[in-house]
Amino acid sequence: MWTLVRQESFKLTRKLSTWISTGCLVGVEILFAFLSRVYPQTFVPASMFESLYFARPIINFYMIAATATIITMEFQYGTMKQVLYRRYSRGQILVSKWLAILLYTLYWYVMSTGIALLLKAMLFHHSLSIHQSAGDGMSVFTRGLSISAASFVSLWLLLSVVFLLANLFRNSAAAVSVGIIGYFASYIVTQLLTILIQKWDWAKWNPVTMTLYPSMMSRPGYYQSLLSMQAWQMLLGNLIYIAIFLGIGYYVFNRRNV
């Protein structure tokens, strides 16, 4: 299994886009850190640090694209046959792709958190302490970490859908589109969701609500009453939906002719 994960990671590291997107993300973080230093009233330093200097939305887009292409490129380049007619089972091959994407997600989060800490130390050494209170008994640093963790889980909910669609359609455009629409869907339909949840309590368990998990971690008091949910329920809901979507994708991948 680890041989397969290593092979998938090898392909990712050999792609020029991996290194260009890394450079772009670092650039975005530097840009927003400077904006925060120059215009602290508009780009509040503590909030900007918590948002990893706008890194998370960028990571989401990169990961949606990377997840779609890790499956669809094998069909596009005609390499799926070669990948499959080895001793490894189809299940192992798909799981290795999941693990490679999991490691890739971790890479982005660790890297962007490291850059954020570095920028804070360089540009906000005297004006911002990561230990200062951010409310709800949390420091700026722990709030940032909890949002990152929630964002990571909710990103994986989207990625599990992208994995499924890439398997079904063999087409990255469809999978990427749905992933990006899914990312914005929660923000677009929050008001509608609130009305539905107030009318029928069970409606809160739909997958779109689960994508609001990071928002709940950044404003717990507001979202808990709005959605009638606790953070642990959101976490559980996310994990269950991830398992369901990955499970369907696994079933489809095992059954299809190549």
């Binding site: 490129m73 380049y77 390499t79 046959k81 007619y85 002719n257």
Partner: protein, 310 residues
């Protein structure tokens, strides 16, 4: 000699279309086997099914005694393959590809050996997106062979190869088969297959029409003949007739070779009777015409059987 691949009563359908009908055959270790048949006969489907890419309705596929299914195919560790066209990642170099798919011990030695055998040194470190069709084809073949597997399945391996590359590949296949590797090769370039394959699987409309050796097929179609030029052609003809060799009515002295032993027996007979042999030529039959004849006969038989059934 034991079998490396055994396919028994294999049936495969796509929806209502039955594409493989009770396909059964065995491949002996170290043999080069040609899989031939017209377009749409089921060659690629058969190869893909053997490689665990397709589910099948019934029957069994065993490689070195282990069953192969799309869900479980550990036995494919003994197999290298190139099916339809080489799958190449454009952002990787040829070397990266080989590194990616090389398995087991001595990977570096295997990679260097296959690069040398297929003369790929000059471009192996370049990104594959700039490769020509022939370069990609060679890389696909190198990927099939890099782990020096026991069974190699190649679908149209000569596609896009120049004469030198075709010769390199032919030499490589012969060398590896002598070391015990079994090759199953599907190709429409029948002249090339005739030079390589020892055994033949002829497939038509999803059924194995004939499993035979190249020699038997050519001989059965009466196309393998030994032509002689001697110091006394009349005496030679009489001797051959007396010894019960089959000769052709041609004014030239021609003997029909029924087995590999025919030529040494004829030469011994003539030398023992004091006849000088000025020239000997083996007039090899033609796989193309032999194959077409087999397919024609098979279709006639099938049609008659269908008519009788009605």
């Amino acid at each position: 000699m034991s079998s490396i691949l055994s396919v028994q009563n294999l049936n495969k359908s796509f929806g209502n279309k039955h594409v493989l009908h009770d396909v059964s055959f065995d491949l002996k270790k170290g043999h080069i086997v040609g899989l031939v048949g017209p377009n749409g006969a089921g060659k690629s489907t058969l190869m893909k099914t053997m490689l665990g890419l397709f589910n099948y309705d019934s029957g069994s596929i065993q490689i070195a005694g282990e069953t192969v299914t799309p869900q479980k195919h550990d036995a494919l560790s003994k197999v290298g393959a190139l099916i339809e066209y080489p799958g190449i990642y454009p952002f990787l170099t040829g070397w990266d590809h080989l590194q990616l798919f090389a398995d087991g011990d001595h990977q570096l030695i295997h990679i260097q050996k296959i690069i040398q055998q297929l003369n790929m040194d000059s471009y192996i470190k370049r990104k594959a997106k700039g490769y020509s069709l022939g370069m990609k084809q060679k890389l696909g073949i190198a990927l099939a062979l890099v782990n020096f597997p026991e069974l190699v399945i190649l679908d149209e391996p000569m596609n896009g190869l120049d004469p030198q590359a075709t010769k390199d590949l032919r030499d490589l296949i012969i060398t590896e088969s002598q070391r015990g590797t079994t090759f199953l090769i599907s190709s429409h370039i029948l002249s090339e297959l005739q030079r390589l394959a020892q055994d033949l699987l002829i497939i038509d409309e999803g059924s194995i029409v004939q499993q035979t050796t190249m020699h038997e097929l050519l001989a059965s179609q009466g196309k393998q003949t030994i032509m002689l030029m001697t110091s006394d052609d009349n005496k030679t003809r009489q001797l051959l007739k007396k010894a019960k060799f089959t000769t052709t009515p041609d004014p030239r002295v021609e003997v029909v070779a029924k087995s590999d032993d025919t030529m040494p027996q004829v030469l011994r007979l003539l030398v023992e009777n004091g006849i000088d042999i000025l020239d000997v030529t083996r007039l090899e039959g033609n796989l193309e015409s032999s194959l077409l004849e087999v397919l024609k006969q098979s279709r006639i038989k099938k049609k008659l059987a269908e008519e009788q059934a009605e």
